[in-house]
């Protein structure tokens, strides 16, 4: 797996450490990875949702 460093604000990093521990993640890295994966999945799907809406709109009853 490729590695890359990302700069984070110190205050944010402290919060990440705190909530990663509270939420039961094994490390702050696992927590960050999970959050990013979830957000990317949401964004990836959003185009398809747009596509869905367009298709429904051909029905005439909604805009």
């Amino acid at each position: 797996m490729g590695q890359a460093k990302v700069k984070l604000d110190k205050e944010l990093l402290e919060k990440i450490k705190k909530f990663a521990a509270l939420a039961g993640y094994s490390s702050p890295q696992e927590f960050i990875t999970h959050c990013l994966e979830r957000e990317i999945a949401r964004l990836e799907e959003s185009d398809s949702e747009e596509e869905v809406k367009k298709k429904l709109k051909g029905l005439g009853y909604i805009s």
């Binding site: 398809s48 949702e49 869905v52 298709k55 429904l56 709109k57 051909g58 005439g60």
Partner: protein, 661 residues
């Protein structure tokens, strides 16, 4: 019905397109049909949306002599419609002889309680289960499936079990056609080649025309280089490729330098159109990978050559000569019709109402298109009627519904979009289609024999859509729904800004309201049982009391509690409340997909100006028959029982109707 995640819904929406590209598999059917020669015959004409009040008015004015003649030999009743009176729901009542609690179709859209996301109610599709990825290609190893979600047995399946032949022509809510040996061709619900309810393309050099995606269409900016214009026609989603691009066909247009004429050059054909001329059907074929392609049919309309080039291309219909998706039983029936008539409209509701709404087509152009649809219906009816010698013939006509949706504003001086100038030209459009329906009936009555029972029916009536009601905004204002960021109320859709941990109710679809119920919804907060029941009754009562400040009228005449009105095994999937709107009112354009516009009430400023989302007593359909009708207040599902009774078949216990004669 199993819960469906968001990705599954997206798959559904891509349904037809994916299946087409992936070599969709659908249940095969046997050839043939019921074979018995029946002493009695039944002919049912279904005019979508024919309204009893308008019918009565124009009969009294002597404009509908065939209807008057038929009524004089039998009877005329308002026909009780479904709750809600949306076409897929109403026709499913008729098809199965049940109500939504039995057939499971409650609205055009249902919702997934795990995602709070709208889902198509009519069909469920699955893509290929196994596929092989090679480079940028995804090759399906097993076909996908598309399933009709209407539950229960249709009356033509029961006729078949009793060896009674039936032809069912474009009845709504029969896509894909239910398995049968009877002759059926699918109607409303049949997608275009993109898997949608219809997406047209419009190409223009006019810089003033807004470009991009419209509701039900796309507008492309094109450029004339000398007298040549290059453009692309989009087709199916190419599921053979990893990033699922749209398959495209390049085409070229040559403008005549002097005359208002253009030559359109497609890869394997070319044709010339004069300004304001329709091309008739053109076959197009989209290449997917070297060994696979998909064909469809579409029409071109050259709206303008100068000063600005404007070319409309209809949604691409499934080609009945080589259907990429199941549109008939037996499969050969669609091809048989194509051999007799050439290419024909296969998309469920073929008139492009979106193009008129978006100013891509004007009133006259829309009517020219719908005229083609109506005349085609007449020709195909004559063909079927000619060979109708036993059993049942059902025949469906869409133009009555579509023209009322689009032209009510010119019949109704109180409508916000009433335009006296346009009304002077097109104000008679609705009356004219009723008169056409009368002529249609006349051709039947001239040839019908005494042994044939004739029933002319509609699924619902019509009323004005002057004011729209934002159900989700109402829920917000009344404290039943909460947003995470209230200052972003008008942004986004699909409840992306909703705080589900504090929301008790939400609206999805055209009439449905759901409680955010614990154990059912993903983040439900209202306990099932008494808590939920009390909340439902509280909201229903408040909805019925809500008054439009502009008119002083109630927006919702009746808020139906689904547990009280539906019967059958599907009730648990129903919305908790079904809104029955008052005359003149409908759900807003934005609320059905989870948006929260600023105001609860808004004028309807669209050309789509007539509708049928009301409380059922506001908009009954019609029933006219050549037999005296005993039933005082017949319902759609009573006609189903009546059809079976005509052929001496006992009504199955799951059906809730009774014969009307």
């Amino acid at each position: 019905m199993t819960a469906m995640n968001r990705r599954d819904f997206i798959k559904q929406s891509l349904t037809a397109a994916s299946l087409i590209a992936a070599g969709g598999r659908f249940p095969s059917v046997l050839r043939g049909s019921g074979n018995r020669d029946t002493p009695a015959k039944a002919l049912v004409l279904g005019f979508d949306g024919l309204d009893p009040r308008l019918l009565d008015r124009w009969i009294k004015e002597g404009k509908m002599p065939a209807f008057a003649r038929l009524i004089s030999t039998g009877g005329f009743r308002p026909l009780r419609t479904s709750i809600p009176p949306q076409s897929p729901v109403a026709w499913s009542n008729f098809n199965t002889g049940t109500d939504p609690g039995g057939h499971g179709i409650f609205d055009f859209m249902h919702r997934d309680p795990q995602t709070y996301f709208p889902i198509f109610s009519a069909t469920l599709s699955t893509e290929a289960r196994r596929s092989l990825k090679i480079g940028g290609l995804v090759l399906p190893l097993s076909g996908g499936e598309v399933k009709n979600m209407q539950q229960g047995r249709t009356f033509w399946q029961i006729l078949e079990e009793n060896d009674i032949p039936a032809t069912i022509f474009k009845i709504p809510s029969n896509y894909p056609p239910v398995p049968t040996k009877q002759r059926t061709v699918s109607g409303m619900g049949t997608p275009d080649l993109k898997g949608s309810y219809g997406i047209s393309c419009f190409y223009t050099t006019d810089p003033a025309t807004p470009k991009g995606e419209l509701s039900g269409g796309r507008v492309y900016e094109v450029f004339a280089i000398g007298n040549r214009i290059d453009a692309q026609l989009p087709g199916v989603v190419n599921t053979f490729k990893k990033d699922r691009p749209e398959a495209l066909i390049d085409f070229r247009v040559f403008l005549d330098p002097v005359h208002p004429v253009a030559k359109i050059v497609l890869p394997d054909q070319e044709f010339i159109l004069k300004e304001k001329e329709w091309s008739g059907w053109k076959k197009v074929r989209f290449g997917l990978i070297p060994t696979q392609s998909v064909g469809g049919i579409c029409m071109f309309y050259l709206k303008e050559v100068r000063p600005h080039f404007k070319l409309y291309v209809s949604p691409i219909n499934i080609d009945p000569a080589d259907p990429a998706l199941p549109i008939s039983t037996p499969e050969s029936y669609a091809r048989e019709l194509e051999k007799v008539f050439g290419p024909y409209f296969t998309k469920g509701l073929p008139a492009d109402t979106s193009a008129l709404d978006n100013d891509v087509l004007d009133e006259g152009e829309f009517l020219a298109q719908d005229e083609m649809i109506f005349r085609e219906s007449e020709r195909m009816f004559d063909y079927e009627f000619e060979r109708f010698d036993s059993g049942l013939l059902f025949y469906y006509i869409s133009s009555t519904d579509q023209r009322q949706h689009m032209f009510w504003r010119l019949l109704d001086e109180k409508h916000p979009e009433y335009d006296p100038l346009l009304a002077s030209r097109y104000g008679g459009t609705i009356e004219n289609i009723y008169i056409e329906a009368d002529r249609f009936l006349d051709r039947v009555l001239q040839k019908i024999d005494r042994d044939t029972v004739v029933m002319v029916m509609s699924d619902h009536g019509f009323n004005p859509f002057r004011r729209s009601f934002n159900l989700n905004t109402w829920l917000l204002e009344n404290g039943y729904h909460r947003l995470r960021n209230p200052w972003k109320q008008e942004e986004g859709d699909l409840f992306l800004n909703t705080d589900w941990s504090r929301s008790k109710a939400y609206g999805i679809g055209l009439n449905g309201l759901y409680i955010n119920q614990r154990g059912r919804e993903r983040e439900g907060i209202v306990n099932a049982g008494a808590d939920s029941d009390n909340l439902i009754r509280e909201i229903a009562a408040k909805l019925e009391q809500t008054v439009d400040p502009k008119t002083g009228e109630r927006a919702i005449l009746r808020a139906f509690i689904s547990k009280d009105i539906y019967h059958g095994s599907q009730v648990e999937h129903a919305p908790d409340i079904v809104c029955g709107f008052n005359e003149g009112y409908r759900i807003s354009w934005e609320s059905p997909l989870g948006k929260f516009p600023k105001n609860v009430f808004v004028d309807n400023k669209e050309k789509w100006s007539g509708d049928h989302m009301g409380s059922p007593e506001v908009i009954p359909g019609i029933l006219v028959s050549n037999r005296p009708v005993r039933a005082e207040s017949p319902a759609l599902y009573d006609l189903t029982a009546t059809i079976l009774d005509i052929f001496g078949i006992p009504v199955p216990t799951e059906m809730i109707g009774k014969t009307i004669f």
